[in-house]
Amino acid sequence: MKNYYQKEIETASREEILKIQNEKIVKQVRHVYDNVPYYRDLMDKKGVKPEDIKSVDDIKKLPFLTKDDLREAYPYGLLGTDLKNCVRIQSTSGTTGKRVVAFYTQKDIDLWEECCARAIVAAGGTDEDVCQVCYGYGLFTGGPGLNGGSHKVGCLTLPMSSGNTDRQIQFMMDLNATILCCTPSYAAFIGESLAEQGYKPEDNKLKAGIFGAEPWTEEMRRSIENSLGIKAYDIYGLTETSGPGVSFECEEQTGMHINEDHFYAEIINPETGEVLPEGEKGELVFTSLDKEAFPLLRYRTKDICILSRKPCSCGRTHVKMTKPLGRSDDMMIIRGVNVFPSQIETVLLNEGYTPNYQIVVDRENNTDTFDVYVEFSPEQFSDKIADVQAREKALNAAMRSMLGIGPKIHLMAPKSIQRSEGKAVRVIDKRKLHD
């Protein structure tokens, strides 16, 4: 038996979906033009008027929004309604300087939670399930999104938030959790911890996991599925568009259905901005069709993927996106946290180090390792081991405070970090994230 949270829309024909999208975009562009001066200026500069947008085919005429726009407009510049209509703020994890904050009306929250509910039902969730949410709760969208979705489905929700693995396991086992929501690396870690405590995969009641917020491979999926005895589903989203649930996997596990009644997806050439046809690889761009408080149009995600309209055996008709195959910028996602090399450089300069460094990211036992090699100077060098170690510790703390994640620091002699053809290699990512 096939389950859907909102069968009618999830299995609607292409024509029906287009009709909904066309109606929504006309209204949405008018709403944004009238209420968001920042975007109105962008449209005016490009010479586009709201009346030029008659259907989703016209979306390509609209200007793009990037993360830089969001930072420039921080905090209220892209707000689409009065603050008194907003009920929630969420924010991105780590950032260079200013964070990105997103606003929600109650309707925005409801639609977002419905998207998450669709993902939970697609993973087999019903009101009989016990859904353990160990994404972080708070400004991060992971916890609140899946928590709301779980409520909508009627699951018995365990709002665990992240961390404290022993308690996670105790609740999981004592309260018979059947669905696990967290980052894939944390799922892998829970699997290992269960094994260490002597549990076999069949000892838990879990049947499905909904994992996202960081890149993971097919190999990692199989390993999590085996260690927990579950089927593992991918979920995708970003704070800028709402949070998790922009797209989600069904039982076919061949890509994530984008909730097209709420989000219009395009793939563009990241160099030229030209829209690419279905099946081609490029940067994913989202237009929010019905968000009130934070209605981003043509938001460039920097994620590189491919869209596919190949019919899906699950019966859902919404377009599918591949897992992100890479980034169009130099952002890395390490243990679920966004990290830019420029942030590392800023910390080093603030702390009095040279900008000669190298970031090495790898994955051991399904957990990311994060090492930063830094050259230090004769003035910073001391004959005492403890002094050098104290420097490494202080640098780790400064990075943790900037990034939200602390790398292992390795101080190095000057000129010892390898340069290739004179140009420094800043990042070595040894993780094989993309098959």
Partner: protein, 144 residues
């Protein structure tokens, strides 16, 4: 009366110590005493050499090198000598950061290098107990 020690930063990988020692020997410098402190990732080589300036120059070409003043104490090469010195420091509540020892061709003599944060106090305490300490000049003159 303190002497000058040179410290060099070494990665904890095969060949780095040999590289440092080779650089020193190629420059015709004799190492009087040596100690290596190590962690999993890096080590610190500490040497007392016949020519501090030149050693610093050759080591600085590929790693970090710095000078530190340390105390080198002469003691008789017999059981209990080091204990006596450490007891003096302990009674004066002086903390020793690290220590290493070396001997010389002068029969019956051994030396201990002490790294102490408050050098002046340590020197006067040791002097007060009649302990003989070496100077940079002594090190130069000392037979290898």
């Amino acid at each position: 009366m303190a002497i000058t020690q040179l410290s060099a930063f070494l990665e904890n990988t095969p060949g780095t110590l040999s590289q440092a020692v080779t650089a020193i020997s190629d420059a015709g410098i004799n190492i009087r005493a040596l100690s290596v402190a190590d962690t999993r990732d890096f080590g610190i080589l500490r040497v007392i050499v016949s020519d501090v300036e030149k050693t610093k120059e050759v080591l600085s070409q590929y790693t970090l090198a710095s000078e530190t003043k340390v105390i080198a104490v002469k003691m008789s090469d017999e059981a209990g000598s080091l204990k006596k010195i450490l007891n003096i420091l302990e009674n004066a509540r002086i903390n020793v950061e690290y220590v290493y020892a070396f001997t010389s061709a002068i029969a019956g003599s051994a030396y201990v290098v002490l790294r102490i944060n408050d050098l002046d106090v340590a020197e006067s305490v040791l002097m007060g107990h009649g302990i003989e300490m070496l100077s940079d000049e002594d090190m130069k003159d000392m037979l290898g």
